[in-house]
Symmetry: D2
Subunit: 341 residues, 4 copies
């Protein structure tokens, strides 16, 4: 049987290049096309020497593929996806362009009017742990943001089961690769190293996505979420510390952990752990580690999650989505263990 | 006039060595004695080559001094301080041994019964922005913990003026030097680099100190505080992100900033800033940068502070306390600007 | 056909744990036994949470295996290997105990008399690019040191073909994981971060190994080698800068590169590159990148190599050796591309 | 007596901002003017929050000053300095524009014809340890490059006394701040972190400067120098490892250290140390630490130096030069001890 042909649109960002790394070793697919504007005409290995083994040239346009991953920036992504969708090509979109069900949020959060509200309705939010069966049937999957993936997986069991008040704080710490490969002063080495800062204090774009999915999980609540992202000096990794008041402030730690384990039973990439996880324990892998615990002094749930923002937070999850869409084993191409230290 | 003679007990930890660095250049004092158990007999420069200029030998016991800084671990610190206090020598204690007014907290949080409850009552909690006039008259000052310094300064104006509910979350991120110079696997380079983790999820020792001082600030409340520290890969720096519900969720950002500015007017080391601060902006200095803002979507105050945990969080604040105790200019020896980048 | 049973002696160091990571996914073998003294009785996942997927308990003694990897420290390694060798079990030794053909070097460089000079003669130095056919027939392979691997691969073509004087400088820069998982002040995070230092200025233990293999390559010379290692703040990676005077100082860069390419033709893990390589381009992979160039002003060859000290410099190369010993495809279990960034 | 008025041309690079930090606390001068093209009109504190205490606005042109520091890029620096020199204003030039005595080197190394060969002859190479008395009389001082400062100080005693062959290798490792504040992919955080690479393999611009000064030190030789710089992941620091064959390969280590100590006797910022130095031991200070040793196996001198590239390698040395030019105490404004860890 012939392998599924895959392509990457905009391979030159960190999500794109991570897709290339992972897809090249994927047993069920063949990476046949990668695009990139400024680097068009160059061999992939010239731009990314670590991928020297992949013998492919960056082109301005995508070749004929069975499935495309778009790693374009928002707005531009929708533009390249529309014609693909019309031709019936399956797409996983790493950008935010098909994540928010309510098209009216786009002008507010992303400064553009959504060009295809109908298609938006057909797209599926690609968090497999929430929407696996819909993803299986979808033609267009909106891959979640890196922060929402961490926050939602940390909160889901508690929210779904109504254990907590809908008043939630997500304090997230991300490595610098989350800011992408585009140069900026705040991601200049000497500025970012030995440094920690909060940013987007007046509302990060990942907030509406978090709220949308929390409300889908538990429609009986209206959620009040404060989401504050921080930049920390590592290249990869997001640790999300989530806080919410418990209805039962005396809930035992073992109980909450058991409940989380039960919720994620059978999930190949979510692991509820017995001690506080570290971002480095997920380096290069598609894992999300979750540690829920109760602050009995205050009656609050503290749920911590760790993941690699370029894998479970981007390229790896996109491949997991493709695996589901094509009925491949869900872990295909994603079996590598984390690299530590 | 002769200079005040100062000594450092246990110079071989990071707080101790930072005291040595700063005191050596202090215009009003002379560093005449430094102690250290394992390193006794060695010259300070052998243990710390960056201090080669300081011509002093580490001794097992303190020489005759006018003021002593104790950088001993808790419990051991009280033991060395008691005889000094009896002899009327002024002391600034970097350890936690004289911070908690309620002696009964020591068995619970520090695993020992306090050996001198009377002296504990006379000691002053050395956060100059809270207790300057008492410090001026004190013989024994309990230098605050690094985390409490950041959290309390970030929260004080809002708490004092009753702007927020007494239900507070402090999510703090600290550099690794906060864990000291004692070896441990979690502070081994290859384990700590590229990594972020939360720790002390079931109660960090700095929590009772934070609550005690919040209740001193505003005795009309009983505070429910969740304090979660994180280890991040920098050597210095603490960023504290504090969250609390505002009584008036529509309070303007300018208003809250103005109120904070007003509160800290004249403070030499607290700076209320107009944009989110970064830990690196305080590197090597005694500054605490504070940025209060309102999350209007949820009606929450977000107050962020940054400081250098070895300076304003330890040695620098200790010297600031000494300056107040001896009526030196409060900034003496602490004028250096932060080093950036 | 049943899989080959493998065991790791002393899994708790960085080489050991990296072996576990790689062997677990190796298609031809089954990891059935891992030992460790202090951690005996614990599950591997307790000590190394990133390996949670590997369901194995650390034992004090090795179970029955077909091939064993020893990641013991020197001297102790020989002691555990002797009985295995007697029983005919194949062994790859990560330690230095079987690397130096001249047994008399052990007292000088490693402070012990070699316990089995006969076995030492039968052991093969496991640099596949030098000794592939002997490795294929060997029962005991001495896996090269991380530094020698980088230095020898960078120098081999020039030395073998007699292009350079036998007067060589190797200035090597290693990440901190090379110093292992044992705690020490110089590998304490706050001491090692933001820092670079040279060490072993009076002779590093990897020097005799480098000289031995250079002389094996080209016995017509007696080599004078200055080898200076440096510690740099990364967890993984060694960059070796090698300098030697060329007989023909006008040799064209293209020519020397061509000659290197020719020399390493067909090598699965050595890549002669067209621009200066970076350690990060090998992160997590078994690659060694080499860039030879001529300093025409002085007539010197500069040959630079990069590798991941825990993979090609330790565990990966050990597996490559096992693959050769068992006639597996040489790249089995080592196909993963480097992780970047 | 009124303070000397100083100005900084192009304050917005790392050398410029470090000058501002140090000059602000200098007891003999007053920083009255700072220029910067893109940031003109902004307050210094807006661009550099750590300098919030300095109340000064960035202007497009320099005000009337007694001494100017130019931190402009090469070529542009000469252009702004020429009119200042004509008006008799003393200048310390951080750029390379007045370092090379042979004007014909500029087209070769810096791609421009020198605009003022006469002035070039009057300029003094500002390495105080080499040219103190000429600096004292100079109107224009060419501040040395960061790499040449480290290499020359490490080599000077041996070269001056003719101990070594004039065939030298300098393998230098620099932190990323040496590459400046201008954005580039190789200094993007995620590319530079966890990474080491060599660069400028076909000749770095600091090479002619190194050779010029070695030949000035010992005109009886013609030097053959291979200089290879490496980028390492720290913000500050240069460690230079210098190698040269000794005439007497049996020279005792104590002897060579004594000879170095003797050579640098009385130098306020050069310290010959007894154990290998670390870059971090100079963080934020104007020190250069030097460790000479003999590789008795090969008869080579290994001389290692460490400095902070932004202080002794740029701004600090520039101030040291100004101090000499104005007969201030040479250490004025440069007394701060290194910050560690």
């Amino acid at each position: 049987m012939s392998q599924v042909r895959v392509g990457i649109i905009n391979v030159t960002g960190y999500a794109g290049v991570e897709l290339a790394r992972l897809l090249y070793r994927h047993p069920e697919v063949k990476l046949i096309s990668v695009t990139g504007r400024s680097a068009a005409g160059q061999r992939l290995a010239e731009v990314f020497p670590h991928l020297a083994e992949i013998d492919i040239t960056i082109t301005p346009e995508l070749d004929e593929v069975d499935v495309a991953f778009s790693a374009m920036p928002h707005k531009a992504s929708a533009e390249v996806i529309l014609p693909l969708a019309e031709r019936g090509i399956k797409v996983v979109d790493i950008s935010a362009d098909f994540r928010l069900k309510d098209a009216s949020k786009y002008p507010e959060w992303y400064d553009f009017a959504h060009p295809a509200p109908d298609l938006l309705q057909k797209a599926v939010y690609g968090l497999p742990e929430f929407h696996r069966s819909e993803i299986a049937k979808a033609s267009l999957v909106a891959n979640p943001g890196c922060y929402p993936t961490g926050a939602l997986l940390a909160l889901a069991p508690a929210v779904k089961k109504g254990l907590v008040h809908p008043d939630i704080i997500v304090d997230a710490k991300s490595g610098v690769s989350g800011a992408g490969r585009t140069l900026s002063l705040s991601t200049h080495y000497t500025e970012a190293v030995d440094n920690v800062r909060a940013y987007s204090l007046h509302g990060h774009r990942h907030l509406p996505e978090i709220i949308q999915e929390l409300e889908t999980l538990n429609p009986s609540f209206s959620f009040s979420v404060t989401f504050l992202p921080h930049l920390m000096p590592t290249s990869r990794g997001i640790l999300s510390s989530c806080y919410a008041r418990l209805n039962d402030g005396k809930l035992a730690n073992e109980k909450v952990r058991e409940l989380y384990r039960d919720y994620y039973k059978g999930e190949p990439f979510v692991r509820v752990v017995d001690s506080p996880p570290e971002t480095k324990q997920t380096w290069g892998s598609n894992l999300c580690l979750i540690y829920p615990t109760v602050d009995h002094r205050t009656g609050r749930l503290i749920a911590i999650s760790c993941l690699d923002n370029l894998v479970k937070g981007a390229a790896g999850q996109a491949i997991q989505n493709m695996n589901i869409m094509f009925s491949f084993p869900e872990t295909a191409g994603l079996e590598a263990l984390p690299i530590y230290p």
